[in-house]
């Protein structure tokens, strides 16, 4: 019987399937971090249970770590306690930890792929909704709550209903200045912040296939922003090339066997999806959000859609969002001053993102009215950036390269945007207060963020693309 990619991977991991019950799904790899794991370890203690397969769990500290002076003790007491608790729990239960100071530390969804932990065909979970990132490799990867973290620690399995499947095709060639972030913000603006709920999404089409692995991660990362727990892309030569030689990737004979299996991981030509959507890459321009959910996005040259144009039942919430942002119906955003630029998060903090920003700002200066934070996704990304001299480019432009962590994406550490201020951000959520109480977030690509960093205002990056290699 023909199957979708999701069904192939899912079916290969079902321990037990029984009518009236969710499937018992085997989990290959479990990633954990300091914020959503302490209560799970506590649960194990109360039940007197060990971690069933400690070698299949990897931990890091990312959500509340500072991004300057990481070699010093964490100043914020509760954050320090939570990070210490992770260290203690990992030691007690035999889990590998890439904590602060470790050369592999970083945002959990950045380190999995770069270490070769993330592989095609795997099932992966983490107590973080952006676990969908790992789907870029053709893996089933999704976020879970803390009770489920405990469940996976105790049993290496998860009780889970098989999801519905959706295929989203993007075909054609991308316009100049349009990046993966713009593709996903465009899709979300079309299908809404709830449009993917209940589905795992397979991204396909020529515009997706042409993307690098890091760009594919940006796409899959934001699947949850339309409600889909998972998003994935069939592995291909670009995937295999990226994975080969990474630290925990299979080697030698094991590589050959794995590769042969990975090449079977695609949706069969006549496989049935529960929903299929198709978009034309040529319709996409650099995107920006204007509201308080990622579905409230538009092309950067457009005007904010009018409240009256929204369905009756949604007008109250829509108006509330515009009021929070300090925006009005029909207003354009181009030329509006911004206060902060944040380049980072599990969506856009990888080496290609930093390279692109560096290339754009090279020979340019930061605008005086903005503060710019560049936060690499991991120690390895940071090291690579320094080796390539990107830090020097940033310094010359007037920014600093900080140390890795989730940072201002969710403001759990000191990196908070002050109340009322506007932040152009490469992160994934523009929710009220996400980057700090009453902070106002505008989601964009790293390229559009870099443009705002040098102009101090919302800018159509295409007007500044005088570096021919960026076009």
């Amino acid at each position: 019987m023909s199957k979708t990619l999701v069904e192939k991977i899912w079916d290969a991991h079902v321990v037990k399937s029984e009518e009236g019950f969710p499937d018992i799904l085997y989990i290959d790899t479990h990633l954990i971090h300091e914020v959503t794991s302490p209560q799970a370890f506590d649960g194990l203690r109360k039940r007197g249970l060990p971690v069933l397969r400690p070698k299949q769990t990897v931990a890091t500290a990312d959500h509340n770590v500072p991004t300057i002076d990481q070699h010093l003790p964490i100043k914020e007491e509760l954050s320090r306690y939570q990070v210490d608790m992770l260290t203690k729990n990992c030691a007690e239960f035999g889990v590998e930890l890439y904590g602060l100071g470790h050369p592999f530390q970083g945002i959990v969804h950045v380190i999995g792929p770069e270490l070769g932990i993330t592989l095609p065909g795997k099932t992966m979970v983490c107590g973080d909704s952006h676990t969908s990132t790992h789907g870029a490799f053709g893996a089933i990867a999704f976020g879970i709550g803390t009770s489920q973290v405990e469940q996976v620690l105790a049993t290496q399995c998860l009780l889970q209903q098989k999801p519905k499947t959706m295929k989203i095709e993007v075909n054609g060639t991308l316009n100049a200045g349009v990046r993966a972030k713009d593709i996903i913000l465009y899709i979300i603006s079309k299908i809404s912040a709830a449009g993917g709920t209940g589905y795992f999404i397979e991204y396909a089409g020529t515009a997706i296939q042409s993307l690098s692995m890091e760009a594919r991660m940006t796409i899959c990362n934001m699947s949850i922003e339309m409600g889909a727990r998972g998003g994935l892309i069939a592995p291909d030569e670009i995937t295999f090339e990226y994975v080969k030689g990474r630290r925990f990737a299979p080697q030698g004979e094991a590589w050959d066997k794995a590769l042969a299996y990975w090449k079977t991981l695609y949706s069969d030509a006549d496989a049935q999806f529960d929903s299929v959507l198709s978009f034309d890459a040529a319709d996409i321009e650099p995107m920006i959000t204007y509201g308080t959910n990622p579905g409230m996005g538009m092309g950067i040259t457009q005007h904010i859609p009018a409240t009256a144009a929204q369905p009756d039942s949604e007008q109250f919430s829509y108006q509330k969002a515009l009021d929070y942002m300090g925006f009005k119906d029909d207003e354009p955003l181009l030329g509006k001053q911004v206060d902060y630029v944040f380049i980072g998060s599990c969506t856009n903090s990888r080496i290609e993102d930093l390279r692109e920003v560096a290339e754009f700002v090279y020979g340019r200066q930061k605008a005086p009215n903005v503060e710019v934070w560049i936060v690499p996704g991991s120690k390895q990304v940071e090291k690579q950036a320094i080796e390539e001299g990107l830090d020097k480019v940033f310094e010359a432009a007037g920014f600093g390269l900080r140390e890795p962590g989730c940072s201002a994406c969710l403001g759990m550490n000191e990196d908070k945007i002050p109340a009322g201020k506007y932040c152009i951000s490469t992160s994934n959520r523009n929710f009220e207060g996400r980057q700090g109480p009453n902070a106002r977030t505008l989601l964009v690509s790293p390229l559009t963020a870099a443009a705002a960093a040098v102009t101090g205002q919302i800018t159509d990056v295409r007007t500044l693309l005088n570096h021919p290699e960026l076009a």
Binding site: V15, K16, G20, F21, P22, I24, Y26, T36, P38, Q39, D42, L52, H63, N64, S79, M85, L119, G121, K122, G127, D128, S129, T131, G143, G145, T146, S147, Q148, Q151, T155, Q156, L159, Q161, A193, A194, T197, G198, I224, G227, R229, F248, A249, P250, A254, A258, W262, N293, F316, S317, K320, L410, G411, M412, K416, A419, R429, F431, E432, G433, P437
Partner: protein, 198 residues
């Protein structure tokens, strides 16, 4: 886990759509390492101003509305996977959340804690908001066994969906770990028989 059977209560209305988990419990309050106490910061930034004074126009600060059921607009609980959102709602004193649409992860987290998410039609949700705005003492009845939700004052009622396994968990107060631990032999067998790549 807390058991759930039947609930009759007044409700707290929150007619806003896309309420995300950052509103339910902002990230800066996720630093606790136990499950208790999150209710104090439920809807923190809607509930309190910058000086930590209660905002009088927010429904949780209103003397008019109280009850064990939170009723909210569609796509409730979108965003982060933080189970702290379900803990905060429960810790505050709610036993059920009613909406016309729930985000997946939130729904699962709620069910795993004995907090019942009840998905109703848009029309029924609207009817609740209308009835409650006319009379805040309006009672809502949720019957898990029969999977019905009703507003006796208006005479309207509808049925709601719930996975039969999760329903049994809620009624009996047992959780997924108890269930999977009983299948440990099958897990070991699966591990031994499968071909693993990497």
């Amino acid at each position: 886990m807390k058991k759930f059977e039947r609930l009759t209560s007044t409700v707290v209305p929150l007619p806003i759509e896309n309420i995300d988990t950052d509103q339910i419990i902002p990230a800066r309050f996720l630093k606790a390492t136990t499950r208790e106490g999150f209710g104090n910061n439920l809807f923190r930034d809607w509930r309190y101003d910058g000086q930590n004074e209660p905002k009088p126009d927010f429904v949780l600060n209103s003397p008019v509305y109280s009850g064990k059921v939170l009723v909210a607009g569609k796509n409730f609980g979108c965003g982060s996977s933080r189970e702290h959102a379900a803990w905060a709602i429960q810790d505050y004193g709610f036993d059920a959340v009613v909406s016309s649409f729930f985000a997946d992860i939130f729904k699962g987290n709620a069910l795993n804690n004995g907090l019942l998410p009840v998905q109703v039609s848009d029309a029924f949700l609207h009817a609740i908001f209308e009835a409650v705005s006319k009379d805040p003492a309006t009672q809502l009845v949720i019957d898990l066994e029969n999977q019905t939700i009703s507003l006796p004052a208006t005479g309207i009622s509808e049925s709601f969906e719930i996975n039969p396994y999760k329903k049994a968990c809620l009624i009996n107060g047992y959780d997924d770990i108890d269930f999977i631990l009983n299948q440990k032999e099958e897990i070991t067998k699966f591990e031994q028989e499968r071909v693993s790549f990497g």
